[in-house]
């Protein structure tokens, strides 16, 4: 059952991702992206990472996508546009490269069995049992990875300053 569901959602995610680049109108691309993100949230549920799934839906599929949609609607970018990808050769090439990489990954993971993945799973289960689903994320975020967390704050500040400088009306 879980396997069937996994393949269903994995197919949805990949199909949505292809749709994002192939869709003609920006709004269409956006809706495909929502599909991808929702399908990934479902995959998280299958991995029993319920908290991550909820965050994925609330932050990405919800807030960020709605913001994107607002921008596209407000700036009236929603109309179709002429495709400017140069020919099919590039599309074939890029799909071939992506296919080759995924093939290699699948082969490697298939050959090694799932021992690595189970080892990681055991560690995650232990962390969840100790701190709870949210604590298992919060604990390393605010202890082991506190430095990257703070640097992210600087990164956001820089992005805001940069965006303001470039978008301000009066120069």
């Amino acid at each position: 059952m879980v396997t069937i569901l996994f393949y269903l959602f994995a197919g949805l995610a990949i199909g949505g991702a292809i749709g994002v680049v192939m869709a003609k109108s920006p709004v269409g691309s956006l809706l495909f992206m929502v599909t991808t993100l929702a399908a990934m949230a479902a995959t998280f549920v299958l991995l029993e990472a319920h908290f991550l799934a909820a965050i994925q839906i609330i932050v990405y599929a919800g807030a960020i996508m709605v913001l994107f949609l607002f921008v596209i609607m407000l700036l009236n970018l929603g109309h179709d546009y002429q495709r400017d990808l140069k020919g099919g050769a590039f599309a074939v090439l890029s799909f071939a490269i992506v296919g080759a990489i995924s093939g290699l990954l699948a082969q490697r993971l298939g050959a090694a069995g799932s021992s690595d993945i189970t080892a990681g799973g055991v560690a995650i289960d232990a962390a969840i049992a100790e701190h709870g689903a949210i604590g298992a994320i919060a604990q390393p975020l605010y202890t082991t990875y506190v430095v990257p967390f703070e640097i992210t704050g600087i990164l956001l500040l820089v992005a805001i300053v940069g965006a303001l400088v470039l978008a301000k009306k009066e120069v």
Partner: protein, 511 residues
């Protein structure tokens, strides 16, 4: 003082230079919006060293100085173990000196440009400080996540700085181009980190090195990860198949930003490149060595060939900066401590001479984006002897003439390459260097051997007081390191001591 990173307070001390820079960036931002000079206005007869946002520039310089003091203080500090997220070693501190020098020189040469172009001084200098902090995170990160975040802090600040001069169409175009391509390359880099994590189960550079050396990591995934990381880094250092953005962005960006970018961003990317590949992927040297070999060879040959036909000075310096990336890739391919020390020395001297050359280009372009053709320099040397001599020294140093710092830097890189027995690569380096004499000397020839097109065409060239400080300091460093490089190279060698010892492997398996 001894730092034990199981106590979180100690991250404060380890990151003191970065924290000072970030905090000072915020101070400059607030000073910029609260002062009277909301517009860096060019009022009549104003002095660019004191008015029009210059006070913010001096303020930013104080921040750089404080950060340098903190960096010097860190020499008295040792860390417990070598697997913490933040490295406190000589390698990082030497790289920090390079970034701080790049930031200080770039700020000094920006004064008149910011004034003349009426840029928003507060944001301009603050973004420079943040970008410098990002570079320092890249050099100090011993965890791929920290390196990635440092890369992003630096890149986003530099994207904004590139597009800063919004009235100039080229600047906005360059900013957009750099942003889109940069975001694309960042995707590759991030995917490389994810694959590394998949292969080894860690993002810590030292731990990755141990796992790969012990054979616990999967070969296929590691190879893929290395490929993606090379693409990500290759874009940032502008090695040749990933260099397409460089000439356009360097030409379009405000000239002081181009100087900062070509020196600082390149140095930061190379330093992180070196740490990741020599510590984390040391054991898979056989995998990445041929790739970097070809990257270095192609970069040196094609960049020098393309530079030969440039008539715009900024574009010529852009191709020259790609060529220098090729020379530095030779040091990376050699992958031993001699080459690593040579690379640090090279980055130091390159920073100084490149920013110096750009400073004069800014002055000659009347603090704007005009008169950038090689022909515009006709008779420049005789009309402005001081600037002419200084620019000639920088050009000779960039070309690598004996007696200049650039020559010694190339000698040390060649020494590293010889230790690793990269004979073909060394020959290519020497031959392409000789080819590069043509385009550097062509500019010098125009300056000294041609007559001015119209009388008095160089009288408007202004070099305000801060820019003169930067020029004199740079030219002293270039000449001093050219004649007496001993102390600096010994310092660089001490700095890379034991850098790769953690991964369990020996540096330079190709020896």
């Amino acid at each position: 003082m001894e730092l034990d990173f199981s106590r979180q307070l100690h991250f404060w001390w380890a990151l003191l230079p970065e924290i000072i820079l970030c905090a000072w960036g915020m101070v400059v931002l607030i000073a910029g919006v609260s002062g009277k000079h909301k517009k860096g206005g060019a009022e009549e007869g104003g002095d660019p060293t004191l008015s029009g946002g210059a006070d913010l520039g001096w303020l930013a310089l104080v921040g750089v100085l404080l950060s340098a003091l903190a960096n010097g203080w860190l020499y008295g500090v040792t860390e417990v173990g070598r697997t913490s997220m933040i490295a406190v070693d000589g390698f990082r501190l030497f790289a920090n000196w390079i970034f701080l020098i790049a930031a200080a020189l770039s700020i000094l040469i920006s004064f008149a440009y910011v004034y003349r172009q009426r840029l928003q001084a507060g944001e301009f200098y603050a973004l420079m400080l943040f970008a410098t902090a990002g570079m320092m995170f890249m050099a100090g990160g011993r965890d791929l996540i920290v390196i990635f975040l440092g890369l992003e802090v630096m890149s986003i600040a530099v994207y904004a700085l590139t597009a800063f001069n919004r009235r100039e169409r080229k600047s906005a175009e360059a900013g957009l181009k750099y942003f889109l391509l940069g975001a694309f390359a960042t995707g590759f880099f991030l995917y490389g980190i994810a694959l590394t994590y998949g292969a080894t189960g860690s993002t810590n550079v030292s731990v990755i090195g141990e796992r790969i050396a012990s054979g616990a990591a999967s070969g296929t995934l590691t190879t893929l990860a290395i490929t993606f990381l090379i693409i990500g880094f290759g874009f940032k250092v502008s090695a040749v198949p990933f260099h397409m953005w460089t000439p356009d962005v360097y030409e379009g960006a405000p000239a002081p930003v181009t100087a900062f970018m070509s020196a600082g961003v390149k140095a930061a990317a190379f330093v992180a490149f070196l740490r990741v590949f020599l510590v984390a992927f040391d054991a898979s040297y056989e995998t990445w060595y041929p790739v970097l070999w070809w990257l270095a060879a192609i970069t040196m040959v094609s960049a020098n060939l393309m530079a030969l036909v440039q008539s715009n000075v900024k574009r010529m310096l852009a191709y020259s900066s790609i060529a220098h990336a090729g020379y530095l890739l030779v040091a990376l391919t050699a992958a031993n401590e001699t080459a690593a020390a040579g690379m640090l020395f090279y980055l130091l001297i390159y920073t100084v001479m490149n920013i110096g050359a750009f400073a004069i280009v800014i002055g000659a372009a009347h603090q704007a984006e005009e008169r950038l053709q090689v022909e515009d320099y006709a008779g420049f040397g005789w009309a402005r002897p001081f600037l002419g001599v200084v620019l000639t020294i920088f050009l000779l140093s960039l070309a690598g003439f004996p007696g200049t710092g650039g020559f010694m830097a190339k000698i040390y890189v060649l020494q590293g390459a010889a230790d690793a027995q990269l004979w073909y690569l060394s020959v290519i380096l020497v031959l392409t260097t000789i080819a590069s004499y043509w385009y550097y000397l062509r500019l010098a020839w125009f300056m000294w051997m041609k007559d001015q097109v119209t009388e008095g065409q160089h009288t408007l060239v202004i070099t305000p007081f801060p820019m003169r400080i930067a020029l004199i300091a740079s030219v002293c460093v270039v000449l001093y390191l050219g004649f007496a490089p001993g102390a600096a190279i010994d310092f660089a060698r001490d700095s890379v001591q034991g850098l790769g010892a953690v991964g369990g492997g020996l540096l330079g398996l190709g020896q």
